[in-house]
Subunit: 380 residues, 2 copies
C-alpha cells in the first residue's frame, strides 16, 4: 500500500430543501458580494435560481449574474466572466449548476489573482490564492463540487485540458437531489457512466490496497444499482440521493487512496474527442471508450481486471465483464460504439494526436498514437 | 436517505517514513512552541520520539514534554497537562501516541480557552476556540486522529464520558503503519475489534442508504480480513496499512452519512464498564457486548441485521452471524464473555446505573436498566 496524503476540506450540505442554506453559509465567511455563475437557464425553470437569490437577499448578500456557461465550458466565456468578477469586485464566486458551471467557476476563482486564465492550464503560472468558491449542484456527475480539479476547453486552440489547485476547493457545496428528479433521463445515465468511469480510473491501478479496492467496488455496485432503479423510476428520491452521493465520493479522494494518481487514459482520449466534437457529451465518450480500453490493456494486469469482473459484474472472466458492462450501458441507452457518436475511422488519427498533445497517455500501458488508434478501432 | 452534513478538514499523511514531516507541517502554521503529549514511554523504545523531536528541532520548534497519559485517560492528568500548557504558553498541542493520548490532547486544546476541563463534558461550557492540534499516531483503533470527538474518565466521579467540538479536528495527523508492526498482537486485535464496533454502531441504523451501507460492509470485511492476516503474519506491512486506514475511516464521517448519528448503545455500556473497571480495555468490553446486544435487539429491525449476517459473515441468519462473529473473536483471542473480564453478575446493576447516568441509552431500542442487565446476562 503506497504512501498517500488525504485532505478534503469541502463542507457538504446534502438533502432535501438545503439550497436555502447558501446565504447563511456565505454570510458566515463575511462575504457581501458574489458572482453567481449559471448555465443556460434551467435553474430558472426548476426553482433553484429563486431559492438561491432569496437566500442571498435574506442575508444581505449582493450579487452579479453571469449566464451562458456551456457543457464543456470554454475559455472565451471564462475570460468574459472573469472580467465581470474583476470589474464588479466580487468577494466570491457562487456556481449554480452542474460540473461545467463549477469548473468555469473554479477557473475564474483561480485566475482572479493570476495574469490570465490559460497560463494556469499551460502550467506557466501556479495559483497561490483564489476567490472563495461556493456551489449549488444541480446535476451529479463530475464531482467538481467536492474536489480541486477543473477542466476547460480552449476554444481558440481546440485543447480540452484539466487543471488542479488546492485553492479552489469549494468552501461549501450544497447538493439537493430533489432538483435532479426531473432531469432528462439521459443526463442521469450520463452522470452514472461518468461516476463509474471516475471510480474505474482509480480502481484498475490497484494491487493490494484492499480498503480502497473494496470501497470502490461497493461504490461501483451502488452506482449500477441506482441507475438501474432510476431508469424505471426516475422520481425515486432515495436512489437519486444514493447516486448523487456516490458521484461526489467518486472524486472526493477516498477512491484514490494509494491508487497512484489514477490511470485516466480513457479520460484523456475522451477529452480529445469532445475537444474536436463538442456535441459529444463527456460520459458518452467514456461509455464508448472504457470497454475498448479494458479489452486492449487488461492482459497486462489480469488480476485486477479479473477481480473487477467478479466483484462488480459477478462473472468469471474479463471478457464476460466487458460484455456485461456493454449490455448494461445499452440497456440504459448509453452508446457503446463510436459510430453511434458519428465519429468515423478516418478521424482516429486526429483524435490520437490531440490526446497526445499534452504528453504521455496511460499508466497501465503507456499508449502511443498507434495504441490509441487501435483502441478507437475496437470502439468502432 | 436522510439529509446530512459532511465536513472533515483533517489532513492525513499516511505511510512509511512520514513522521519526519511533522516539523514542517507545524512550522507551516507559524507555530514555534508545542506541548508534546505522550504515554508511558513506548515511543522512546520504537524510535518515534526521536523522529518527532528531530523533526521539530530541524524546523526550530521549541517543545515541552508531558508524559504519563494512561489508557482510558483521566481528568486529573489532563488538568495537570493543561496547567503546563498554560504556564509554558505553548501555541499548539502535539499528541504522540494512540487514541488515549490524542483524546487527552483534544481535551487540553479545547479547555485551553475554557474555565475548566470537565465543564466541556457536562455541556455547561461550549468551546468556541481551541489550541491547534497535531497528532502522530502509534496505534490505530479509536480514530481520534481523524475526528473531533474525545473521551475522558473523570477519576473523581467514575464517569467516562465523551465530548465533541469542531475546534479540535487535528490540523494534521501522521499515520506511519510501520511503527505498529511490533505492537503486542492483542493491541492489534483490540484495534480491529474497536474499528469493527465503530462501523457497526452506524451500520445498524441503516435502512435504504445503499451507498453508506455498502461502504461500511466493504470496510467491515476488510477489517476482518486484515486482522486474520496479521494474526498469522504481524509484520505484513500491507495488511497493517489497510487495517490502519480502515480504523481511521471508521469514524471519519464517511461511515456515518445518513446514519442518524449512530446507535452507540454498546459504547455507552462499555464506557460504564471501563469507568468502573479501568483495567478492561475498551475493545475487550466491546467484543463481549456487541454479540449480546445484537441478540437482544435484532428482532426489532430484522432486515438490517440479516443483511449484515449475509454480506459481512456470509451466513443466512442473524443467529449464525452472531455465532460467526464470536468464533472470529475467539480465534483472534478477544474475549466474548464478561466472566473472561472477571466481571460477576452481582455487579450488573451498578454497570447499568452508571451507563444511564448521562441519559438515554440506545436508539434501535431505548434500553432501560433492566434491558441493560438482560444484555449483560446474555454476555455472561
Amino acid at each position: 500500500m503506497d504512501n498517500f496524503k488525504f485532505h478534503n476540506p469541502v463542507k457538504i450540505i446534502f438533502g432535501k430543501d438545503t439550497i436555502r442554506e447558501i446565504g447563511s453559509e456565505i454570510h458566515s465567511y463575511g462575504i457581501s458580494k458574489v458572482l453567481i455563475l449559471m448555465g443556460s437557464g434551467s435553474v430558472k425553470k426548476n426553482g433553484v435560481y429563486e431559492q438561491v437569490t432569496d437566500s442571498l437577499e435574506k442575508y444581505g448578500i449582493d450579487y452579479v449574474e453571469q449566464w451562458g456557461v456551456t457543457p464543456n465550458p470554454i475559455l472565451s466565456h471564462t475570460e468574459e466572466s472573469l472580467e465581470i468578477a474583476r470589474k464588479e469586485q466580487v468577494q466570491a464566486v457562487l456556481a449554480v449548476g452542474g460540473g461545467s458551471v463549477i469548473d468555469e467557476a473554479k477557473a475564474i476563482a483561480a485566475a482572479y489573482y493570476a495574469p490570465d486564465v490559460w497560463s494556469l492550464f499551460e502550467k506557466t503560472y501556479k495559483a497561490t490564492n483564489a476567490l472563495p468558491l461556493f456551489t449549488v449542484l444541480t446535476i451529479s456527475a463530475t464531482a467538481s463540487e467536492i474536489n480541486s480539479f477543473f477542466v476547460l476547453t480552449n476554444d481558440r486552440e481546440n485543447k480540452k485540458w484539466s487543471c488542479g489547485s488546492p485553492h479552489v476547493y469549494p468552501k461549501v457545496s450544497i447538493i439537493d437531489p430533489t432538483v435532479q428528479k426531473y432531469l432528462p433521463i439521459n443526463q442521469t445515465i450520463n452522470g452514472g457512466v461518468d461516476t463509474l468511469s471516475h471510480i474505474m480510473e482509480f480502481y484498475f491501478m490497484g494491487e493490494n490496497e484492499e480498503s480502497t479496492l473494496s470501497i470502490n467496488e461497493a461504490l461501483m455496485r451502488t452506482v449500477i444499482k441506482s441507475v438501474d432503479e432510476l431508469v424505471s423510476d426516475p422520481l425515486n428520491y432515495d436512489w437519486r440521493a444514493n447516486l448523487a452521493w456516490c458521484s461526489s465520493l467518486a472524486l472526493q479522494g477516498i477512491t484514490s487512496v494509494s491508487m497512484g494518481g489514477g490511470e485516466f487514459a480513457c479520460h484523456r482520449i475522451e477529452h480529445a474527442i469532445s475537444a474536436l466534437y463538442p456535441s459529444v457529451a463527456h460520459a458518452e465518450g467514456l461509455s464508448v471508450l472504457f470497454p475498448a480500453w479494458i479489452e486492449y490493456v487488461s492482459s497486462l494486469k489480469p488480476h485486477i481486471f479479473e477481480r473487477w469482473a467478479k466483484n462488480v459484474w459477478e462473472v468469471d472472466s474479463v471478457a464476460a465483464g466487458i460484455e456485461k458492462m456493454k449490455e448494461k450501458f445499452k440497456y440504459w441507452g448509453a452508446p457503446v460504439s463510436l459510430s453511434e457518436l458519428d465519429i468515423e475511422q478516418d478521424e482516429f488519427e486526429k483524435i490520437a494526436e490531440n490526446a497526445l498533445l499534452i504528453g504521455e497517455v496511460g499508466k497501465i500501458k503507456e499508449l502511443n498514437k498507434q495504441d490509441i488508434i487501435s483502441i478507437l478501432n475496437i470502439a468502432q
